[in-house]
């Protein structure tokens, strides 16, 4: 059986490290566990983990939040923001989060392989029994949602 560290905290730490370093924002668990990002304002992307476990990590956030991040990161005004810039930031956030998540989760000598981030073209997939959900928010109360989907990932869930 694959040795690993606590899964839930590994993701929270990964998201915190990423947002603190990239956009100077703190991240915590959302105070409202029932909160859902409104579907009409939701942007999501996904990235496959290929080895040593197989699964998919999905990141969802409000388009308004993504737009705010884009303006901050590129230091540009709202009217200058383009969709490719927003997409690129969302993909880079997910790429960094997943890399840190696997580093935090797995033992030091355990290699891993991950794919490239892809933008979600269809509706945000509903969580099923093989999905772990993180509902998070920044210190400015912008919501983020993460799904880890796949039986072998879920098998690593903390007791």
């Amino acid at each position: 059986m694959l040795k690993h560290k606590p899964l839930y905290q590994a993701m929270i730490n990964a998201v915190s490290q990423t947002l603190e370093n990239m956009v100077f924002m703190e991240v915590m668990e959302h105070f409202d566990r029932s909160y859902e990002i409104p579907a009409e304002d939701l942007a999501w992307n996904s990235l496959l983990i290929n080895d040593p476990v197989q699964g998919e990590i999905r990141l969802a956030m409000a388009k308004t939040f993504l737009r705010k991040l884009t303006g901050n990161i590129f230091s540009i005004d709202d009217e200058e923001i383009t969709e490719p810039q927003m997409n690129d930031i969302q993909n880079e956030l997910l790429n960094t989060i997943v890399g840190l998540f696997l580093t935090n989760l797995l033992e030091d000598d355990q290699e891993y392989k991950m794919g490239l981030p892809e933008l979600g073209e269809e509706e945000w997939p509903e969580a099923d029994a093989n999905t772990i959900i993180w509902k998070l928010m920044t210190d400015e109360e912008d919501a983020l949602q993460i799904h880890a989907a796949g039986a072998s990932l879920v098998a690593m869930k903390d007791e």
Binding site: D88, E92, Q110, E111
Partner: protein
């Protein structure tokens, strides 16, 4: 003036690296941006370059293949290569260093980490 290649398929990542370079005193360096390893390799062969900063996970040619090609090329084998990746762990780092990478840094990279990694380069 130093000439530096940044290879990453993400515009955001390249911008973060450029900002780090500016903060640590390399703001006047000529930056050549490449979206994948093949583009970086072509740029490195086309003109003399002082430093190559590369991501690992990229389309067309990944960073690991790029390191192998650079280190196998008589013309480029002395070029310092720093890998900046979200897909790095101690096992991967060891493997990349064995291939000839100068350093392996984890994303998101910060100016102090970049400064420490490029200390030798900055002293020149």
């Amino acid at each position: 003036m130093k000439r530096i290649i940044i290879a990453d398929d993400s515009t955001t990542a390249r911008m973060f690296i450029k900002r780090c370079l500016q903060i640590i005193g390399l703001g006047d360096a000529e930056i050549i941006e490449a979206e994948h390893g093949k583009e970086a390799l072509t740029a490195a062969k086309a003109q003399p370059v002082d430093l190559l900063l590369t991501d690992l996970n990229m389309p067309v040619m990944d960073g690991e293949t790029l390191v192998k090609w650079v280190k196998a090329s008589p013309k480029l084998s002395d070029l310092p290569v720093v890998v900046i990746t979200s897909a790095g762990n101690p096992a991967k780092e060891e493997q990349l260093l064995a291939l000839g990478a100068h350093r392996v840094l984890n994303k998101p990279v910060s100016p102090p980490v970049m400064m420490e990694a490029l200390a030798d380069f900055l002293d020149d």
